[in-house]
């Protein structure tokens, strides 16, 4: 194991140890360009010296904004090498949001990918005069800008080479002066409330977490990864930056944001991360395309996918599978799974992660059945990603696995998940109160999430801690957990569960107009509006079956089994951000809904079978109107809780 304690040191080591191995690639003009470790070390050195030559001092921050590009990654190490701190910023953030970060980080230097980002920085510079120098990577469209504080990347590197020639010892000394305890990066978290907070991570944080995971998953310099998620996001920083250095594998940067799926196929990464949304989109595309395929192909696909669901996951987990199924699975690999994975660019995947939100078990199982080792992890910026993750062979769509190496996790009395470990952030930049609120004196970090450990020692995240409540009999209610289970059904678009301080759980359900409308069309059910379809008796019946399925699932869980849905109603209108019922990122605004539909909630908890409601709605053009409806309240069957039965016997 290497002795380097900072990334610039590790870069020099890699250049000496595996200098001719590919370190990164980028598709440019349709061709993959490769840089090996020796070349990267050279590029970084020139840039670092160039930064110094234009006045970049130790402690200075370098704002980095743009798509995933090798040059932008190099800039991170370059800033670190001369004692500075890279601050990657989300490339799609508006000038105003970016201005906050630039101002708060007290950055004097910024690196922009292209004209679009330069324009934003120029706008910011008018209100944040502290921002002095701006460097751009792609000169297109910038020819006539002419400001003397604007520099091209190439020019800075040129200056850097001259500086390096004149001060040959400067770079090595500067790198040698870095320590593991120095700040290596500041990542601003896009908080849902208030301004973003700058999470300060040290070289030790990032490097130890990256290494621990690398050892656990046996990542080597032969692995390949596609860097396509924002550089400002901690996941990308660990996977595409930290582990790039520690494992020495090659990071591939797509040609453009629009070509990611094609580039994925070109590269065939062995290590892959995607949020659940992306896996869901891929699955939908596959299914839609299969529906259009010739009947024989379609039948082949469905036959082998059924087999894969039965045997694939078990084979992946090393569990016993009958010889016939094994044989058939091998055949399926030739006919279906192999070609499908090849089309998706998943042929070589050895390790795939997903995280960020709950993933539907169907989606999760689909990819695992194909033989892709997809696993869930639970992490956050404040942990340098890894808090828990699923070890090979112990994968379950319901949990997020066991604590990561060297990480301790415990559940507080109020159900909140706490952790500590080598990746714990140093502080929120310039916010000691916020730091103290989140991290206690012993180093335990409050995640704000409520979770439970199951019998196998795997963590299950159920909801935000502040949303978890209790029924009057003390049973735990995690509304989001229940809502997610409902939303996994394609027919259900949104759900809102209630139960805190009540004697049972009740829910509002929004049907999905596309899925339900499709169903209605196929069954010759005429409807004139969303409202009419939502009130159709057969629709209510379908939703009731879904709710009961959720209840059945819940009953398997000894902790949450008591929170089954006794009564529900299907709302007459879609929950809408324009009406303030959802946030712009489509999260349910629970309290607002509870106020707005107080009479409906009362009806759910009284004995009523029907409730009249009038709701003001905002139309797309901004006009307002009133929707009135008589909503049926439906009862659902509940099931005995599994573990309690076991206890009784």
């Amino acid at each position: 194991m290497s002795g380097a304690d900072s990334f610039p040191k590790l870069l020099l080591e890699n250049a000496a140890r595996i200098g001719d191995r590919p370190a990164c690639r980028e598709k440019d003009l349709g061709i993959w360009q490769t840089w090996n470790w020796a070349q990267v070390a050279d590029e970084v050195r020139a840039l670092a010296c160039g930064l110094t030559a234009i006045g970049f001092q130790p402690g200075d921050k370098l704002i980095i904004v743009g798509d995933n590009r090798p040059r932008l990654y190099w800039a991170m190490t370059a800033a670190q090498a001369v004692g500075g701190v890279p601050v990657p910023v989300y490339q799609d953030s508006a000038a105003k949001e970016m201005a906050f970060v630039v101002d708060h980080a007290e950055a004097r230097f910024a690196l922009a990918e292209d004209q679009e980002q330069v324009d934003k920085l120029l706008e910011i510079r008018e209100t944040v005069p502290r921002l002095e120098q701006i460097i751009y990577s792609d000169p297109r469209g910038l020819r006539n800008y002419g400001q003397d504080f604007l520099h091209s990347y190439d020019a800075i590197q040129e200056t850097g080479r001259e500086y390096d020639g004149a001060n040959p010892d400067f770079y090595e000394q500067s790198v040698a002066g870095g320590k593991g305890d120095d700040t290596s990066v500041m990542l601003y978290t896009s908080g849902t409330t208030g301004n973003p907070k700058g999470v300060v991570l040290t070289h030790d944080n990032v490097m130890r977490t990256a290494r621990n995971n690398q050892e656990m998953e046996k990542l080597t310099e032969d692995d390949e990864i596609l860097a396509y998620l924002p550089m400002a996001w901690v996941g990308d920083h660990i996977f595409s930056f930290g582990q790039n250095f520690t494992a020495g594998f090659c990071v591939n940067c797509p040609e453009s944001a629009a070509t990611v799926m094609q580039d994925l196929r070109d590269i065939g990464p062995t290590y892959f991360f995607a949020p659940p949304r992306i896996f869901e989109n891929i699955l939908t595309t596959v299914m839609v395309r299969m529906e259009d395929a010739a009947p024989i192909k379609r039948r082949l696909f469905h036959y082998f996918m059924e087999l894969a669901q039965r045997a694939g996951t078990r084979i992946l987990d090393g569990k016993p599978v009958s010889a016939t199924d094994r044989l058939l699975y091998a055949l399926g690999n030739i006919l279906v799974y192999g070609p499908l994975k090849n089309t998706l660019g998943f042929s070589r995947i050895r390790l795939a992660y997903t995280a960020g939100e709950a993933i539907g078990p169907d989606i999760f199982d689909f990819f695992r059945a194909l033989g892709i080792n997809l696993k869930q992890l639970y992490g956050m910026t404040e942990a340098s990603v890894f808090i828990t993750l699923q070890p090979d062979g112990q994968v379950d769509p319901e949990t997020v696995g066991t604590p990561a190496p060297e990480v301790e996790v415990r559940i507080a009395d109020n159900g909140e998940v706490l952790f500590r470990g080598p990746g714990v952030f140093r502080e929120y930049y310039k916010s000691p109160e916020a730091t103290a609120e989140t991290k206690d004196a012993e180093g335990w970090v409050h995640t704000g999430d409520a979770g439970l450990f199951n019998e196998a020692g795997h963590l299950k995240i159920i909801d935000r801690a502040k949303d978890v409540g209790k029924l009057v009999d003390g049973t735990l209610v995690a509304p989001k957990y229940i809502e997610n289970k409902l939303k996994f059904f394609p027919n259900i678009k949104e759900a809102v569960a209630f139960g805190n301080g009540r004697d049972h759980v009740a829910a509002f359900v929004n049907i999905d107009l596309v899925a339900m409308g499709n169903w209605a069309e196929r069954h010759n059910i005429a409807y004139a509006s969303y409202q009419e379809l939502a009130a159709h008796p057969q629709v209510l019946e379908i939703v009731r079956q879904h709710v009961e399925q959720v209840n059945r699932d819940l009953s398997q869980d000894p902790n949450l089994g008591g929170s089954q849905i006794k009564r529900f109603l299907v709302l007459h209108k879609e929950l809408d951000a324009d009406d303030g019922e959802l946030t712009r990122t489509r999260k349910v605004r629970r309290n607002f809904i509870a106020d707005r539909y107080a009479e409906l909630i009362e009806a759910l908890y009284s004995g009523q079978d029907e409730c009249h409601v009038e709701t003001e709605v905002t139309f797309e053009d901004g006009r307002k109107g009133v929707v009135a409806a008589d909503l049926k309240i439906v009862g659902a069957e509940t099931f005995p809780v599994a573990a309690e039965l076991k206890k009784a016997s």
Binding site: D28, L29, G30, I31, R140, G141, R143, S256, A258, Q262
Partner: protein
């Protein structure tokens, strides 16, 4: 939009007293104007004003009965399309004219045709100098793909693309000719606001980066006034006005032609 700084040079193309008629219809009467190097020159006018006819005369598709065309100092009675192309005039069409079954890449490659010098046999063998030549052309095409940000549709058959992207591919093909004068016939017709903004940016970038002279027909007045250096206004085959966007905007004849004059039955 700020005015871009380019050195607008000498006259690149000049049309003198062009008249064009089809049987009894006089499409153009006695039109004269010039296009200077590196400028963006707009041709505007109501429907049937003769704008597309004018472009067709410039690239030699129509031969005017009267008048002369001077391109790069050479005076001609009429252009011929292949001469125009060889001389460095490229164009796009009002109704996209691409090979729908071919990929974006192949469509753009056809724009390089005039610049390929090896004969078809060499090219079929794809050997030696022919190979080197094709690789060089491919590199140029890739630069244009990068420039117009159409990497994601490189391999997609053009017929499958939405209209706005097809227009962009057509522009790409015209650029592949490395023209000196680029004629754009309603490059933004049928586009939504976002697509128009993109197209404007590309036109300005082409003009700035490659120094290409651009003559465009466009109906969106906002676009025309924003991006062009000079505007010529046609109506019923006659020239109504010629000047900077501001001059043209204030011209009473132009206002009348667009809004109609009181004794006309035309709609406002």
């Amino acid at each position: 939009m700020t005015q871009h700084e380019r050195a607008i040079g000498d006259t690149l193309l000049k049309v003198d007293n062009i008249s064009l008629g089809f049987g009894g219809v006089q499409a153009l009467s006695n039109i004269s104007f010039d296009i200077r190097e590196h400028e963006i020159r707009a041709i505007i006018g109501p429907n049937g004003a003769g704008k597309t006819s004018m472009l067709n005369v410039i690239n030699g598709f129509y031969h005017p009965q009267e008048g002369a065309i001077t391109f790069k100092g050479e005076v001609r009675r009429a252009m011929r399309p292949h001469v125009a192309a060889k001389q460095g005039i490229a164009r796009t069409f009002q109704n996209v004219a691409l090979f729908k079954g071919m990929s974006t890449l192949d469509n753009i490659m056809t724009g390089r045709n005039l610049r390929m010098h090896k004969n078809i046999l060499w090219q079929m063998l794809y050997y030696g100098p022919a190979r080197t030549e094709e690789m060089e052309h491919r590199r140029r095409v890739e630069e244009i793909i990068d420039f117009l940000e159409i990497q994601a549709i490189r391999r997609v058959p053009v017929g499958k693309l939405p209209y706005g992207l097809q227009k962009r591919v057509e522009l790409a093909r015209a650029l592949a000719m490395e023209p000196e004068l680029l004629l754009l016939d309603e490059p933004m017709a049928g586009m939504n606001v976002e697509e128009k903004e993109d197209m404007c940016r590309f036109i300005l970038d082409v003009n700035e980066q490659f120094g290409t002279t651009i003559a465009l027909i466009e109906h969106d007045m906002g676009v025309v006034m924003d991006i062009s250096d000079r505007v010529v206004v046609l109506d019923y085959g006659r020239k109504l006005a010629d000047g900077t966007p501001d001059e043209v905007r204030g011209n009473q004849d132009v206002i009348d032609a667009y809004l109609g004059v009181p004794h006309d039955e035309g709609e406002a």
